[in-house]
Amino acid sequence: MSIEEAHVPDDLSSLDFTGGLRFACTGDTATPLVLLGNIEVEREWARGEPGLPAVGDGAPSAVVARMDELALVLGEAGDHVVLKSAPDRGYLDYLRSLGLGLPGIELTDRCRARVPVTDEARESPGLLRRLAGLGRAGARLLPHGVSRAEEALAAAAHLPVALPAADVAKRVNSKIYGRRLAARLGVPLAQGWECESVGEFESAVDRAAEVLAAGGTVGVKDAYGVSGKGIAVADRPRRLEQLIRMVRRRAERTGDHRLAVVVEVWADKAVDLNYHFTVARDGSVRFDFVKEALTAGGVHQGHRYPARLTPAHRDLVEDTAQQVGKSLAADGYFGPVGVDAIVCRDGSLLPLLEINARNNMSSYQARLQERCIPADAVVTARQFDVLLPGPVAFARLAEVLGELLYRPEAGHGALPNSFATVNAGFVDASGPADGRFYLMLIAPGQERSDALAAEVTARLAEFGELR
C-alpha cells in the first residue's frame, strides 16, 4: 500500500472487506489504520445511562479483556494493531502460513488481567509516543467502536479517529434509537415501547401486562445493554411488578427518574440473524453479508455462514440494510454496522431488532473468509470455553487438533481466529483459569460441519473441562 496507489473507488463494493472499511472510514483506500479491539466499548456507552438495576463491578473478565487480539486478523500489512501482549509466535506463523499479510503490532506498556485495551493504552507513555509517530505518517485510529475513552486515547496519542464523534456513535447504538428508526422506516418491528423515564416504564408495563395476560412473554432491555446482557424476561405479571419496584426504589433514592430501556414483546423466534454493512463518509452503503447467529441464553456464541434464508428474506435484509445505512449516514454515522434480526416461527422476518454501529464478531471473520476459505464452505464460527489447568501454547493446540487444524490446501478444518483469550486467565493467576478458544469450523457441508464440531469438541476436552 503506497501513497501512489491512493484512490477513491467508483464503488465501495469493488473493494475487499478491509479495503472497503478503510475507504468508508477515512475516505482514502491508502490510509494506514491503527486497529484497536476495544470489545468493551458498550460498557462505556452504558456509563451513566440508568437501565435495569445492576450489580457487579462492570469490569470485563480477563477473557473479554483479551478479545483485543481479534483485531489482528482485520488489518493488512502496512496497518497496525494495538495489543495488550505479544501474540503467540506459533499463532503468528500459522496466520502467515494462511497467506495473510499481518499488521504491525504495537504493544501497551503493561498487560493487567481485567483492564480494557483502551485504558491500558491510555496509561502507556511508550505506546502513545509510537502512536503519535504513526499519526504523523497519516495513520488513523480505527477502534472496534468509539466512545469517549477512545477519543481520549486518540487525543493523548495525537492520532485522529477514523470514526464519527463518540456521542454520535453512542446515540445510534441505543435500542431506543433503533426502534424509533424502524418505526420511521416502516420496517416490521416487534410490538414494544421505548421508555426514557420511570413514568414511561410504568405505562409500558401496564400495556405489557395485557400481553402477559394473553399468554405472551415480554423482555425489558437496557437501551445501552452490553451484548446479550441487561435483559430481563417477564413471563408473568409478578416479574414486571418486581422490576417496577426496583426501578422506583432507585429513582426515589437518587432523585433521578430517567430511564433508558425498551419493553418488547418476545417474538417466537426460529433463527437469529446478524447482517453487516459498511457506511462510508460519503453516505454510500455496502451490504457485506448475513449470517445465522448462534446464541445461548441471549449471549452470543458464534455464527453460521451461509445463512439459510429464502430469497425474499434475503432481499428484505439487504433492502433494510440500505435503508438503515442511509439513515445512519444522515444522522452523522459512518463505519461498520451489524444488525440483529430474527426469522419467526410463522416464517415472518423482523429485520431490525438491534443496531450495533461498531465492529461485530463477524467483522473479524470477514477477511479470513475472503482470503483463506472456499466460498462454498459451511463455516461455523464458535467459542469454546474451557477451564484450563495451565497455559496452552499454540503449538500444543496445533498438535491436539492435528489434521483438523485448517489448511487452505485442504479447504476444511478448524481455523483459530484469535488466540490470546486462551491464556487470558493466567496473566495474574497460576491456578486453573477460564480460557476461550475462538475457532472457525470450515466444512464442505452441514453434515461434515457437525462431525467436525463434535471431533473438535472432543479434542479440546483434552485441555480441561469444557464449560
Binding site: 445492576a54 450489580v55 441487561g230 435483559i231 418486581q242 426496583m246 432507585r250 441471549g298
Partner: protein, 86 residues
C-alpha cells in the same frame, strides 16, 4: 425469614438452577457464581426475583456489592445478614 445455613444454601442453589436452567447438583458453598456458573448481571436480577418468588427472600439489588456474589456461600451470608432482623 431465617433459614438454617444448610437450608438456605439449598434454596439459593435451587434458585440458581431455575435461573440458569441447569443441573447444579455438584454445586456447593465454594462454587463461584460468575466464573463457574456463568452468572451475569441479568441472571443476578433473575436470581433475586426467583428467590423472592419461590422462597419469600427479598433482596434489594442496589445493596449488593460484587463480593456478595462471589460464591454461593457469599450470597447466603448476605441474605442472612440482610434478613437477620426479619
Amino acid at each position: 425469614m431465617t433459614a438454617p445455613a444448610g437450608d438456605l444454601q439449598a434454596l439459593v442453589i435451587k434458585s440458581l438452577e431455575s435461573v440458569l436452567n441447569t443441573d447444579l447438583s455438584n454445586a456447593g458453598a465454594g462454587t463461584k457464581l460468575f466464573e463457574e456458573l456463568g452468572l451475569d448481571s441479568t441472571s443476578v436480577l433473575e436470581l433475586l426475583m426467583t428467590l423472592e418468588d419461590d422462597h419469600g427472600i427479598e433482596v434489594d439489588p442496589e445493596q449488593l456489592e460484587p463480593e456478595n456474589l462471589e460464591t454461593v456461600a457469599a450470597v447466603c451470608a448476605f441474605i442472612s445478614a440482610s434478613t437477620a432482623g426479619d
